[in-house]
């Protein structure tokens, strides 16, 4: 325990040194925020439990600073991120529960009318910090006018690879296009150092890379009007490519859940996978010298681009205030406080960029340049595309995502249990049930 703490302290000291670099952007002089929290306000916050220890440590420090400054008591509860959704839903349903919930993906789009309008706060923060990235608006400004929540950022999912093994296979880094990527995967497989990507019901890892795969070739679940368009020549190409890719994977990926690729990677059994920066963080802070030795060898890159680009799906994180709260002003004040540079910037550094910023100005945060290996995660929100693209977000998109329609389709086609054509048709049928008019 104490060892780990010391490691963390060391990491923290490094980051603090980096933080002294000046941040250069022009703050909008017009951005002003005046609001007096209710007297005697108390807040309850429910958030997802940390993926990296630095996150929660710094978050709680900021919370303490908020209490010290405003006198508002804040209780923070942590739940596994997949359990936050049902809890938030119950809160929305019953009209009682935490004042603020840090949710994921399209949570806010399931009960927009239960959420406090935070347009003023979003405008203030947007103005002050260089504007919100489009993904934040897609999720939390569904009608293009009113904000129903404040983006917190996104846990980027990127390529995590072993430099030495890629070099041994003849590649200096992850190729930028899908053809080169396939060649690399084949070469890695031939060298006996294969990669692996989750194809089981892994809510995070499988969904992220499978959506990238389909999108890279131009496939999409629905069009703008909400008509299911997954059964398309573009998807077919993606699935055929996925099938070839799968043949280079380490065996067993069909049963992989979210933790699987982390532990296999840290055990040195795979050369490449997709993940958050948490693997790197874990290796850095590991007491096991074998795992620790991986640090210099681990590197990250963006997904390769297919014919239709390389837009990716990452775990989007939001902050929602529920209308039932007795202290709406205090709740807004809390979120404002946490999003201001003094807190948010520190927090990004403490979690070594596990959560990428939703506000453009934060891309100047030194965490992204302190270690070049952090850089690929910088643009996670900037490039993020919500699952359920290109339709509206809501019950249909949430349902289709939760039912693993895209993941099952890719897995069926890749494993050969169905032909790509059949897998695609089946996915379309399943999706149509959610997107029924």
């Amino acid at each position: 325990m104490s060892n780990k703490r010391r490691d963390l302290l060391k990491a923290g000291a490094g980051v603090a040194a980096a933080a002294t670099f000046p941040m250069i952007w022009v703050k909008d002089a017009h951005a002003q925020w005046t609001s007096t929290p209710e007297k005697g306000a108390k807040l309850r916050v429910l958030r997802w439990s940390r993926f990296v220890q630095g996150d929660i440590d710094q978050y709680m420090k900021s919370v303490a600073a908020f209490t010290a400054k405003t006198g508002i008591e804040v209780r923070v509860d942590n739940e596994s991120w997949e359990d936050v959704r049902p809890k938030a839903a119950v809160a929305a349903n019953t009209g009682a529960g935490p004042d603020i919930i840090l949710g994921t993906n399209d949570d806010a789009n399931l009960y927009p009318e239960k959420l406090l309008d935070v347009t003023d706060l979003a405008n203030y923060l947007g103005k002050k910090y260089g504007g919100w990235y489009p993904a934040g608006q897609a999720y939390l400004r569904p009608n293009g006018k009113n904000w129903i929540g404040i983006p917190l950022g996104a846990a980027g999912s990127m390529m995590v690879y072993r430099e030495s093994q890629l070099k041994a296979a003849g590649f200096d880094g992850v190729p930028k296009d899908t053809d080169g990527f396939l060649r690399m995967m084949k070469a890695l497989h031939a060298k006996g150092t294969p990669g692996g990507f989750a194809l089981g019901h892994a809510t995070g890892d499988a969904n992220t890379w499978c959506h990238w795969l389909v999108w890279a070739f131009g496939g999409k679940m629905v069009d703008k009007s909400g008509k299911v368009t997954i059964d398309s020549p573009e998807t077919l190409k993606a699935l055929e490519y996925g099938k070839e890719l799968y043949s280079t994977f380490i065996p067993g990926t069909l049963s992989w859940l979210d933790p699987s690729n982390n532990k296999v990677f840290l055990d040195g059994q795979i050369s490449i996978t997709n993940n958050g920066i948490s693997v790197y963080f874990a290796a850095k802070n590991s007491k096991d010298p074998k795992v620790n030795a991986l640090v210099s060898d681990i590197n990250h890159s963006k997904y390769p681009a297919g014919p239709a680009g390389n837009t990716a799906f990452h775990l989007f994180l939001n902050q929602m205030i529920f209308k039932y709260t007795k202290f709406p002003k205090a709740a807004k004040e809390f979120i404002r406080f946490m999003m201001e540079e003094e807190q948010y910037g520190q927090w990004m550094q403490a979690s070594i960029g596990y959560v990428a910023h939703p506000l453009a100005a934060y891309e100047k945060n030194p965490i992204w340049t302190a270690d070049p290996k952090h850089l690929p995660y910088r643009d996670a929100v900037k490039e993020l595309r919500p699952a359920g693209y290109d339709g509206k977000l809501g019950y249909a998109s949430a349902g289709a995502l939760a039912d693993f329609i895209i993941v099952d389709m890719v897995a069926e086609a890749a494993s050969g249990s169905k032909s790509p054509k059949e897998a695609m048709e089946r996915a379309a049928k399943r999706a149509e049930r959610y997107y029924k008019v």
Binding site: E82, R85, P86, A89, A92, N93, L110, Y111, K114, L199, G200, H201, A202, T203, I250, P251, G252, T253, L254, S255, W256, L257, S260, K263, V264, D267, Q269, Y395, A398, G399, A402, D403, F404, D408, A411, E412, S415, S417, R426, K429, R430, R433
Partner: protein, 284 residues
């Protein structure tokens, strides 16, 4: 009477009634539903994943229950013999049942891991196989792997309960059978089994109910994957209702399990508690 009635009402009737009612509405998470009749059920009837989950549930329940019964009875008969350290052995047998399901499920998750499986490792070291077994990656392998874990967990319950039943059979019945010249097999068939049927009926009803509604094991091991091959109605119901947000549909799936459960109960009640047979006669 009154407190008991109130308890039943609050903790049993109300939730069950609410769940059933939800199944007939289009309730979503965060939004109360409207009555839509049997639409959820017709929808599920045409849904390939729901149908697959129905098949999986039956397959899982039947295979696991039969195995649990056969192994449990066998174990009970063994434990009923005069063994050294009898009490100790009986306590050990109960262990799998005592361990919390979530914990034993995590243990099995490691045992079945495609990269870290101790079973695969052992077999590879012994030179019996040359690559790791894909316990949870192949649909049929995954079905049998989950069934195995369920059986491992469920056998002690069956065995210990049947053992209790065995010990209530009066020795004089066996003496009488011996005097009539019955051999071991006849004693089992005409004394043990008929005397044991009421217990068997109860224990197997419970066992079937537990297996049919299993959730934790699947959720930890596979989340219903690979390719939905291990999705049971209970896990699919959760997936649709909570992460998926379709409360009404999830409730409908859960409600759809009730007739099957009732059928299992009625079968054991009427099928296994036949008195005439227990008393050595033939059923008329």
């Amino acid at each position: 009477m009154l407190p008991a009635g109130a308890l039943l009402l609050v903790f049993l009737t109300y939730p069950l009634g609410l769940g059933t009612w939800l199944g007939f509405t289009d309730a979503k998470i965060g939004r109360p539903g409207e009555w839509i009749g049997a639409e959820n059920f017709t929808y599920l009837y045409g849904d390939s994943v729901a149908r697959l989950s129905l098949f999986n549930t039956f397959f899982y329940t039947i295979v696991a229950s039969v195995l649990k019964f056969v192994l449990g009875l066998w174990l009970a008969l063994l434990l009923n013999k005069h063994l050294p350290f009898k009490a100790f052995l009986r306590a050990i047998v109960l262990l799998p049942f005592i361990a919390p399901t979530a914990l034993s499920a995590i243990a099995f998750w490691w045992i079945y891991d495609p990269q870290f499986s101790v079973v695969s490792w052992l077999l590879v070291k012994m030179g019996l196989i040359d690559r790791y077994i894909d316990f949870l990656g192949d649909p049929w392998m995954a079905r049998f792997s989950t069934i195995f874990a369920n059986v491992w967990r469920g056998v002690p319950f069956v065995a210990i309960t049947l053992l209790a039943g065995l010990q209530t059979i009066s020795p004089s019945l066996y003496e009488a059978a011996s005097l009539d010249g019955a051999n071991d097999r006849q004693k089992f068939w005409y004394v043990t089994l008929p005397m044991l049927t009421p217990i068997i009926a109860v224990v197997m009803t419970f066992s079937v109910l537990f297996t049919f509604t299993d959730f934790q094991l699947i959720y930890v091991l596979t989340r219903g994957g690979p390719l939905n091959a291990t999705h049971l109605m209970a896990t699919l119901s959760f997936q649709r209702a909570i992460p998926g947000g379709a409360l009404g549909e999830g409730a409908a799936l859960a409600t759809a399990m009730v007739p099957f459960l009732l059928a299992a109960i009625l079968f054991s009640y009427f099928g296994l508690q036949r008195r005439a047979w227990q008393q050595g006669g033939d059923d008329q």
